[in-house]
Subunit: 311 residues, 2 copies
């Protein structure tokens, strides 16, 4: 990839996901070196311990491979509820940790200043600061993948709500409807995430598919079950984005994540539905995410560099 | 009323509503003097002209009545879409104005520095800064009266979205449902404002009522139509507030406006419904508005004093 980040301090970047953990060494010119995926070492409890062991090992290997680069800070990101300010992982579905002081633990493990941030907010910040949305003051970056979440920027600044803001995926679209992984019902994520689209379709079909891409393909080929599932997802996304628009009036909404790769098949009908719910409201532009699949690592690097710049 | 505002510069305050226009002279000790309601002089077009004539006249009368107080600034607030930063009234339903530079016009009319702000944001700011919600950094102040709108505070600062933020009342709860004054369908305001509750019930009954208070009374007395209308409104409010909670994670939601006078009959069922849609989210406290019916004037005075403090 080209160096979106630009020049700055060299840092280590780690993006802990529910399935994979990504790692890279960020060179002084901003290039991501040695980008690698490792399975996330999920444990029945205290996954933080095995995660810290894994990233320490990966960091050491990256330093060995690039002896001429001395990273000056560590940027770590993870899903769930994250208190950026205090560097705490409060809670993460499936990752089995609670109230873990990841920032302090990473600083100890590496002997370097560290940042610990929410994955969607970090990737969203990369999209917002380094992509075309940077031209706007008020923006949402919505990731639609296995889950759905939003990074919110108001007047150019990220809004974290002590770790609880941006949970667009757990905003109820169909009260009493589809059960959600969070324990609620009818959440946007339970209807319209790539994983939910797949799951909802596979309940209806005798020939299950591996992902949302195939649901869309079958919908286009005239499979009425696939079409119904896809349309419900589009309706829910249009409505959910309209709620966010009424409340916050973003100038731009960036859509990213796996489902956004559907391109116009997603953007055009979602835009149409979103606008159909608006009257005098400010109409947000819908934009494609531009940073690509390493947005999380880039965001982690941005935050790590910011730690060094803070007096 | 007691002097919530506290000591500061004396100012003139005007709160232009869809029906009434309220005016007052704010004394150096913060007391509101000569509070008065005048019918808003609505014209088929350019209502701004008659509004400016009316407030100029009211201001002159206030100065005559209190010759020992020399107001140093003017605080003017109005409904609709208001760009606080540029002091523009972009648009207001029923008031028939477009892109009016109210701040500049008020400065000329009075020969004093002036502020022009949205009525709900100004009243919300008074509630937020001077009421018990001031203990929190992230808050919503929701006014449920003829209409529904929210004043948003994030990290202690108001969020205006260039005049377009906070339109919780025009967030769609029932797609394709009840027509709304904004031209949309199924907006929260069309279901749950005091005016909509009255209108929806009066469509069902042979003996119409003057307001939402009577709908609630009849619901309590066993009128099943009144009960159905009231319950739909509670459901919509709980759901609408849950959307705002998922996105922004406010620590507190203050409910004010005419419908909030229903007290526990509103707060308890709305809280129950709101919380029923939340799982891992941060649960906002629901608080009663505390400033009372002059919150708009107090907010206008706050902003007018702020103009004098800005270098």
């Amino acid at each position: 990839m080209t160096s979106l980040l630009g020049p700055g301090a060299p840092v280590l970047a780690f993006d802990v996901g529910g399935t994979d953990l990504k790692s890279a060494l960020v060179a002084p010119d901003g290039e991501l070196l040695g980008v690698q995926r490792t399975p996330t070492p999920v444990q029945p409890e205290h996954t933080e311990k095995s995660v810290l062991e894994t990233i320490t090992r990966l960091g050491a290997a990256l330093r060995e491979q690039h002896p001429s680069i001395s990273p000056e800070a560590v940027g770590l990101i993870a899903p769930g509820v994250v208190d950026d300010e205090r560097g705490l992982g409060l809670f993460a579905e499936n990752l089995n940790w609670h109230d873990v002081p990841f920032r302090d633990l990473a600083e100890k493990a590496f002997g370097l200043p560290a940042s610990f941030t929410h994955d969607v907010r970090a990737a969203g910040e990369a999209e917002y600061r380094l992509g075309p949305a940077s031209a706007y003051r008020d923006a949402l970056v919505v990731t639609i993948g296995t889950g759905i979440a939003a990074a919110i920027f108001i007047d150019g600044k990220p809004v974290a709500g002590d770790g609880y803001a941006g949970e667009l995926g757990h905003s109820v679209i169909a009260p009493g409807g589809e059960p959600c992984a969070c324990g609620g019902r009818g959440c946007l994520e339970a209807i319209a995430s790539a994983a939910s689209i797949t799951r909802r379709y596979n309940r209806l079909t005798p020939s299950p598919v591996p992902g949302a891409r195939e649901v869309l393909e079958r919908a286009r080929a005239g499979d009425t079950d696939a079409e119904a599932v896809w349309i419900t997802a589009l309706d829910a996304l249009g409505l959910g984005l309209s709620h966010a628009t009424a409340l916050l009036a973003p100038e731009v909404i960036v859509l990213g994540g796996g489902l956004a790769q559907a391109g116009d098949a997603l953007f055009n009908p979602v835009r149409e539905r979103l606008y159909s719910h608006l009257t005098f409201h400010r109409r947000p532009k819908l934009m494609h995410a531009s940073i690509g699949q390493n947005a999380g690592l880039v965001g982690a690097a941005l935050r790590a560099r910011a730690v060094l710049e803070t007096p």
